[in-house]
């Protein structure tokens, strides 16, 4: 069975990384090593599909996976802790493998066109991006929390390197630092969660934690704390409120990197972690509620900021945060369904949305990259009228926008609807979910609005500045077309075979639900479906009225209460400003205090000793006054004292 060889998947891109970084320059061949990057990712893609095929046949690798022991602590076999490296292949892994392999490969191919003008730095780019893809594969196939954490940190490192790719630009350098430091806050929580699990269960293997009963004897409060902290890692990595502000700043990197981070690697790692921890999360309803609230609030807040953003990549960045919020919300709500009804609706909906989002968000980012490549600016206010000149880009981006807005039959409709319905049904068990459902529906409206605002501002109307746009090369448009095809069709995975829901139910050990036909009839007879669909249509129509039809005076928004609101949104709800002020005032004040302490107390002690030595030396040297007779007298006194000590005191003291 080929799934046992899944550990080969990260090896291919890693080999590409080694080759690109170490080979002499003239052997890098085409595009400074891109050819190795493509080869590595394509091989990994093939291997991933072989593994996915295995999983689709019902063959998973969970217990007794091939592994090697890395560290053994303790000699007593009953209590020793052994850290192993192994693989864990189940349905969730398969979904992530699809996402990472498809998006990763297409992004690397697209990069050949997008990064063509970068010159020698392309070598660094391809080395870093293949490493990024490799460690993401490693994270996905990990079979214990420590192994996952190692790859988790490597993913963070690679995103730091790539966001700061143009490190000569101060804004890129600081955005990279910000991404690294903010996600580090989450990483610390993740680590704390792991430590709690290790302390109480003595093991970090998924086999023992999920399939065994090693958490059975654990204090429920500690388990809630552990799962909450592990989700804290996801808050940082998946840019959830309140640690979401690094993601929009991460737009300083090349657009291909943004596509990869947003669709396949960095931020998906957080959602993947939450989904992976599900067997523990469903034992702790309080953590689940926390997960759902964070997701719902994030979805709404990020969507509101996207309404006014003028940078095309920032709109997409906030929409990613918002969609990640959906996934997290779906996971949180789904847990209540698992606990109370024993169905995997929310879980499968969230992972389904994760997969669909990967395709349409990669598509949107690569389209935005194509636009930026042609126009040379990120500012949508300077664009307009590009639809005629960039036909393929505009049509594929329209497909992406329709998918994310949730228009049937594109992929976003199916998964978003499933998420919202899971949240609504979870409301039967905890009334807070009704409120979260409202947030989700409001987000759906705003999502449709801002995506079409972006599309109209970019492609419709007349050019608003002087540029000579042209369609991008084939190397860039072909990946766009492939992703557009996926954005249209990936939603139908819901109905293929036994259906997506039945497939994902296996990952958390639940039986299959209804047949695909039942699911379809459920979707189309549920009034909630038409509520969210109506919201999407209304959002698109509002955008059409305001940004497409001429004669609408947008300055009305800048007055009165809505003006204040607009100002708050343009300043991203002042959250970013809060962090900056926090850093300036609180951290700086603390640093001043530490500086004072260092200079006065620490240096004071050190300098004090030096002063003491100098002064006592000054006093003591007076004893050497050149009078030989005084020396002699001291010698004689000293000898007498020594004699008395040796002859009388020592024998007496020794008994």
């Amino acid at each position: 069975m080929i799934a046992e060889y899944a550990w080969l998947i990260p090896v291919f891109p890693f080999a590409a990384f080694i080759l690109i970084s170490l080979l002499p320059k003239r052997t890098l061949l085409w595009e400074d090593g891109a050819v190795y990057g493509i080869a590595g990712t394509v091989l990994a893609l093939g291997m991933s599909f072989a593994v996915i095929w295995d999983v689709l046949q019902g063959h998973t690798v969970t217990t007794n996976s091939p592994s090697f022991t890395w560290i053994v602590i303790g000699s007593d076999t009953s209590s020793q802790l052994s850290i192993t490296f192994g693989i864990w292949i189940d349905q969730l892994t398969a979904i992530m493998l699809i996402v990472v392999s498809v998006v990763g490969t297409l992004v690397v191919i697209y990069s050949c066109g997008y990064m063509h003008e970068e010159g020698d730095t392309r070598r660094r780019y391809y080395a870093e991006i293949t490493l990024f893809i490799s460690v993401m594969y490693g994270l996905v196939i990990s079979n214990n929390y420590l192994q996952m954490f190692i790859f988790w940190e490597l993913v963070g490192l690679c995103s730091y390197l790539l966001i700061g790719f143009w490190y000569q630009k101060p804004s890129a350098a600081s955005a990279a630092k910000r991404a690294f430091i903010v996600t580090r806050v989450g990483d610390i929580m993740f680590m704390a969660g792991i430590i709690i699990l290790l302390k109480y269960t003595g093991n970090l293997n998924f086999t023992d934690l999920f399939l065994g009963n090693s958490t059975a004897g654990m204090d429920p409060n500690m388990l809630t704390l552990a799962t909450g902290l592990i989700f804290g890692g996801a808050i940082g990595k998946s840019a959830q409120f309140p640690l979401h502000e690094w993601l929009p700043d991460a737009m300083e990197g090349p657009t291909t990197v943004s596509a990869l981070i947003h669709a396949a690697t960095m931020v998906k790692a957080g959602v993947y972690l939450t989904a992976r921890t599900y067997p523990l999360l469903i034992q702790t309803p309080n953590s689940l509620l926390f997960v759902a609230i964070i997701g719902g609030v994030t979805a709404l807040i990020a969507a509101t900021v996207a309404l006014v953003a003028t940078d095309i990549k920032r709109v997409l960045a906030y929409s990613t945060i918002s969609q990640l919020g959906y996934m997290i919300l779906g996971l949180g709500a789904g847990g209540y369904l698992v606990i109370n009804l024993g169905v995997a609706d929310g879980y499968s909906a969230a992972t389904f949305h994760m997969m669909n989002h990967a395709f349409f968000k990669a598509l949107l980012f690569l389209c935005a990259g194509s636009v930026i490549h042609a126009v040379g600016t990120n500012d949508m206010r300077a664009m307009g009228g590009l639809g005629k000149k960039m036909r393929i880009t505009s049509i594929t981006m329209l497909i992406g926008a329709l998918a994310i807005a949730g228009i049937p039959p594109l992929s976003g409709f199916w998964s978003k609807d499933e998420v919202l319905s899971a949240v609504y049904h979870a409301g039967d068990f905890n009334a807070s979910f009704f409120l979260l459902w409202f947030l989700g529906v409001a987000t759906a409206l705003m999502t449709a609005f801002y995506m079409f605002r972006m599309w109209f501002m970019t492609f419709a109307g007349e050019p608003r500045s002087d540029f000579h746009a042209h369609e991008s090369p084939k190397l860039m448009t072909v990946p766009l077309m492939i992703l557009a095809g996926l954005a249209i069709t990936s939603g139908f995975a819901l109905f293929i075979g036994k259906g997506f829901k039945a497939f994902m139910s296996g990952a958390i050990g639940l039986g299959a639900g209804g047949s695909p036909a039942d699911i379809a009839s459920e979707i189309f007879t549920d009034p909630l479906t038409y509520v969210s669909l109506g919201m999407a249509v209304v959002g698109i129509l509002i955008a059409y009225r305001i940004y497409y039809l001429p004669g609408f005076d947008r300055s009305v928004f800048a007055r009165g209460v809505s003006g204040k609101l607009q100002k708050a949104l343009e300043n991203r709800w002042y959250i970013s400003k809060f962090y900056d002020d926090f850093a300036v005032n609180v951290v700086y004040a603390f640093s001043r205090l530490a500086d004072w302490f260092d200079r006065i107390v620490i240096d004071g002690i050190v300098n004090g000793f030096a002063y003491l030595g100098a002064r006592s030396g000054g006093v003591m040297r007076k004893a050497q006054d050149g009078n030989v007779q005084r020396y002699t007298a001291l010698i004689i006194v000293g000898i007498c004292v020594l004699l008395i000590f040796v002859l009388y005191i020592l024998p007496w003291g020794g008994g």
């Binding site: 007076k622 050149g626 030989v628 004689i636």
Partner: protein, 106 residues
């Protein structure tokens, strides 16, 4: 034979007199003479212990007395060097008062 305590008291007194002279006298030549007295106290001890050692073990061993002869020879050499130093100090400073000769210091 004279009891050993007598010898010990005698040499201790001699040593103490010499040490007292070294510590109190100002004249460098007198200090040198007092050092000779201390050396002789040590010589008396060497001779005395040597003789007692031979008698107590009924052997003929005079190595302690030879040590004393060495010591006397070295003392003679020491006096020669010491007097030479005192002479050159006097030429340089016009005094041999040990309280005034104190420039070898911090």
């Amino acid at each position: 034979m004279i009891p050993i305590e007598y010898w010990l008291v005698f040499s201790s007194l001699l040593f103490a007199i010499g040490a007292y002279g070294v510590l109190t006298r100002r004249n460098a030549i007198v200090v040198l003479m007092c050092i000779e007295i201390m050396l002789n106290a040590a010589n008396i001890n060497l001779v005395m212990f040597s003789s007692y050692h031979a008698v107590l073990h009924s052997i003929s061993d005079s190595s302690g007395q030879v040590f004393a002869l060495f010591s006397i020879a070295i003392a003679a050499a020491e006096v020669a060097v010491g007097l030479a130093i005192i002479l050159s100090v006097y030429r340089r400073y016009q005094t041999i008062d040990v309280d005034k000769i104190n420039i070898l210091r911090w």
